[in-house]
């Protein structure tokens, strides 16, 4: 395994040969990828050095210190966080070479075509069909809650290729070219007024077989790798400083506006502050576990906790500010570039936080996952077991 000093030396050698000021951003990032200094825990030749994940911070700090252009982690989160690990685990050599560089540099944005109007928590029940036609597959169906679809070049598509077998068995995983004929992306307006997400309609979209990821009928296994990496990403995210989350604006309002302070709210505020800080520590412990190569199942816990806290704290903020909470900043339909709780009013935070316990796995499904996979509790009886998908009631 490489040591921090060796990795630091490689970055310095790279910077000596590639003047960040002389190259374009794209050229520089592309060269950085080829030198294995993109995501250091990836294999050599695919943007990494096969090093410990913990060394990424060392590399990033060196590039930052040199004033080199870096990647914007807000761009292509699904590509970097979900598509890349899935392609690394299940993609062919050719697919890995074709896609990983563009994912890391952000040149090609990816989205995830999983959820459907009829398949949310029960993802494996999805109905989008893909039928074999010569060297291609032909896909038709409707996907929903697709963030980034309007920006994306590629979509991670989970489709039903065999309706005659049990629902988990008949799925296959594809990379869908979002510019292909038959792909239509429509904004999906949410209760905050804006549209972060999309509906994606697929009508006889031709997908070459070379864009299939993993074997036919193994889509559920591949999709689980995608979902697992999503949880690992939550785990790997560095905790911000104290009060950098939803508690920040509330604590700031309490400090700067003494007229808002009421006795009955004080202990509630302190209880929420305590929970927010403990959640931050929990996130840091999780990150340390991951850096030590011992990823725990606590990623699901982190998401559950943040969803609940965001909701409770934003609800508290509305009460704290009282009448001010009755004024909403803007209901206009717009397409925000990224989702952020900040720069908007308390009403927006309160409403947007409702989605936190629904998106990326509802809190109820996450509790099922913890109960089944971590605690090993017996499964609920399943009426959909051993029944061909086409015979399931829906």
């Amino acid at each position: 395994m490489l040591k921090p000093d060796e990795v630091r030396e490689r970055v310095r050698a790279f910077l000596a040969e590639h003047d960040p000021a002389a190259a374009s951003r794209e050229e520089f990032l592309s060269a950085r990828f080829d030198a294995g200094l993109a995501w250091v825990h990836y294999p050599e030749g695919l943007g990494g050095l096969g090093a410990s994940r913990a060394l990424q911070a060392v590399v990033d700090a060196e590039f930052d210190a040199a004033g080199a252009p870096g990647i914007d982690t807000n761009v292509n989160p699904i590509g970097r966080g979900m598509a890349a690990p899935t392609i690394l685990a299940y993609g062919s050599d050719e697919q890995q070479r074709r896609w990983l560089r563009g994912i890391w540099t952000g040149e090609e944005i990816w989205c995830q075509l999983f959820s459907e109007p009829g398949a949310g928590s029960d993802l494996a029940g999805l109905a989008t069909r893909a039928a074999r036609d010569g060297e291609d597959w032909v896909a038709s169906g409707q996907k929903v809650w697709t963030s980034q679809a309007h920006l994306a070049r590629w979509g991670l598509l989970l489709a039903r290729t065999d309706p005659d077998v049990e629902k988990h068995q008949g799925l296959t995983y594809f990379a869908c070219d979002m510019t292909a004929p038959g792909v239509e992306v429509r904004p999906l307006r949410q209760l905050t007024g804006e549209a972060e997400f999309n509906e994606v309609f697929l009508t006889d979209v031709r997908i070459p077989d070379r864009d299939r990821i993993g074997p036919v009928g193994e889509g559920w296994t591949v999709a689980n790798a995608t979902l697992m990496s999503e949880r690992v990403n939550i785990a790997a995210a560095r905790s911000g400083p104290r009060e950098s989350g939803m508690i920040g604006p509330v604590a700031a309002a309490w400090r700067s506006r003494p007229e808002l302070r009421r006795p009955a709210l004080h202990d509630r505020l302190l209880a929420l502050w305590t929970e927010a800080e403990v959640a931050r520590l929990g996130g840091e412990m999780l990150r340390q576990q991951l850096a030590a190569g011992k990823p725990g199942p606590e990623g699901s816990a982190a998401k559950l906790v943040f969803a609940r806290l965001n909701q409770e704290i934003s609800g508290f903020e509305m009460e704290l500010v009282g009448g001010d909470g009755l004024r909403y900043d803007d209901w206009a339909m717009r397409r925000p570039e990224r989702s952020s709780f900040f720069g908007r009013g308390p009403g927006y935070r309160y409403l947007r936080a409702r989605g936190n316990s629904i998106e990326g796995g509802t809190s109820e499904i996450l509790r099922n996952i913890i109960a089944d996979r971590v605690l090993g509790l017996p499964r609920e009886p399943r009426p959909d077991k051993d029944v061909p998908w086409k015979d399931l009631p829906r």
Partner: protein, 388 residues
């Protein structure tokens, strides 16, 4: 303003190999010698503290000397190891005075900084001496200097012998029953921390029928009891404060171990217990409750580890870390124990089943060394969120 705890200077929250090894050997010893049925039987016996078990863990495993420097005969390892040990003891509701003697009284002696205090350390580290700090167990850190014991007039010969006389009462003291020496904060001139030897007469213990008989309290009374000054003025205040903070932090670790054990017991039972022709653990309503407890335990562990790490390194964030850990872990332990009773159903309400031992310990722990609201009130000033 609140101390800027930047992401980069987070201490290591994971368990070291040494901490793991200590906890493992402690757990296997406890599994052998601290079975639930024996703990339960002991709560109704004359000897509620298990002296033989205490000797085994204090002396043989070295728990008594974890916080004591090597030059004074201890292991000199610190609060991270002390917390790891407390987790294991909490998991077994072990009736030993570890918290009171090896943590609270030891922290007071270490902070007192006097030669008289240091003289006690080797015997304490070796496990041959058990000491208790004479304060009500419900005392929160950062509360005022205890004033229920006062200095009174000397007797002839006291001045020459360096003896002071103490009079007063201290109610609800934890881990004092098995202690042969008491550290007594007393008001007067000088206000100080005094050493009282139970064998010297004048001091008496009255056992309390306690909510938690696995850590039985007693009321202490001092009637012209002879005491030796260990620290006076600010040094005495610092010693008492250090002891209370150490108690709160290590108790938070005990709460993590207790909560985890409650969860494990409940999960195991729900896999076995069948109603409606299926294991009750397959009902989603129950699974979700256990998942919530698991999440809370994971969070509590992070809070407790952070407090132990901050105390070990003397981090300036330690007061925040301790208040945070005790406020949060108290509620988690109580919740886990209450769920343990409820989800066990009828058997969980019996005397025979050990669930009630955990419930009583959890509720008592949540009050000991400061209730959650007391710690939140401390946070209010520490992080600048003032009361209206």
């Amino acid at each position: 303003m609140t101390a800027p705890a930047r992401a980069e200077d987070f201490p290591d929250l994971l368990y070291s190999d040494a901490e793991r090894a200590l906890a493992d050997s402690l757990r296997s010893l406890l599994a052998d010698r601290c079975a639930a049925a024996e703990v339960l039987a002991r709560t109704e016996s004359a000897q509620t503290y298990d002296d033989a078990l205490w000797q085994a863990v204090a002396a043989d495993l070295g728990l008594a000397g974890l916080l004591i420097p090597e030059r004074d005969g201890g292991a000199g390892v610190g609060y991270r190891e002390a917390a790891a040990a407390a987790e294991a003891l909490g998991a077994f509701v072990a009736p030993v005075p570890y918290l009171g003697s090896a943590v609270v009284a030891t922290a007071a002696l270490l902070a007192a900084g006097s030669a008289e205090a240091a003289r006690l350390l080797p015997k304490l580290a070796g496990g041959s001496l058990t000491v208790a700090l004479a304060v009500p167990v419900a005392t929160a850190p950062r509360s005022g200097f205890p004033g229920s014991v006062r200095l009174c007039g000397p007797r002839p010969g006291d001045a020459a012998a360096g003896t002071s006389r103490l009079r007063g009462e201290v109610r609800g003291v934890a881990d004092a029953l098995p202690a042969s020496l008491l550290l007594v904060p007393a008001d007067g001139v000088p206000q100080g921390l005094y050493l009282v030897d139970m064998a010297a007469g004048g001091a008496a213990k009255a056992p309390v029928t306690s909510l938690d008989m696995t850590r039985q309290l007693c009321d202490l009374s001092f009637d012209d009891a002879p005491g030796t000054l260990l620290a006076s003025g600010d040094a005495a205040t610092r010693a008492v404060q250090a002891a209370l903070a150490a108690g709160a932090a290590v108790l938070a670790a005990e709460q993590v171990g207790l909560a985890e054990r409650c969860l494990d017991m409940t999960v195991a039972y729900l896999k076995e217990r069948k109603q409606f022709a299926r294991p009750v653990g397959s009902f989603q309503a129950l699974k979700h409750r256990l998942a919530d407890v698991w999440v809370e335990v994971a969070q509590a562990r992070a809070a407790s580890r952070y407090a132990a790490a901050c105390l070990t390194s003397g981090d300036r964030d330690a007061p925040v870390a301790v208040a945070l850990a005790k406020a949060y872990c108290s509620q988690v332990a109580v919740h886990a124990a209450q769920e343990c009773v409820q989800l066990h159903g009828g058997i969980g309400f019996t005397w025979e089943h050990p669930a009630h031992l955990y419930l009583k310990r959890a509720k008592a722990d949540s009050i000991a060394f400061g209730t959650p609201d007391a710690h939140r009130a401390a946070l209010a000033s520490l992080v600048d969120l003032p009361a209206p």
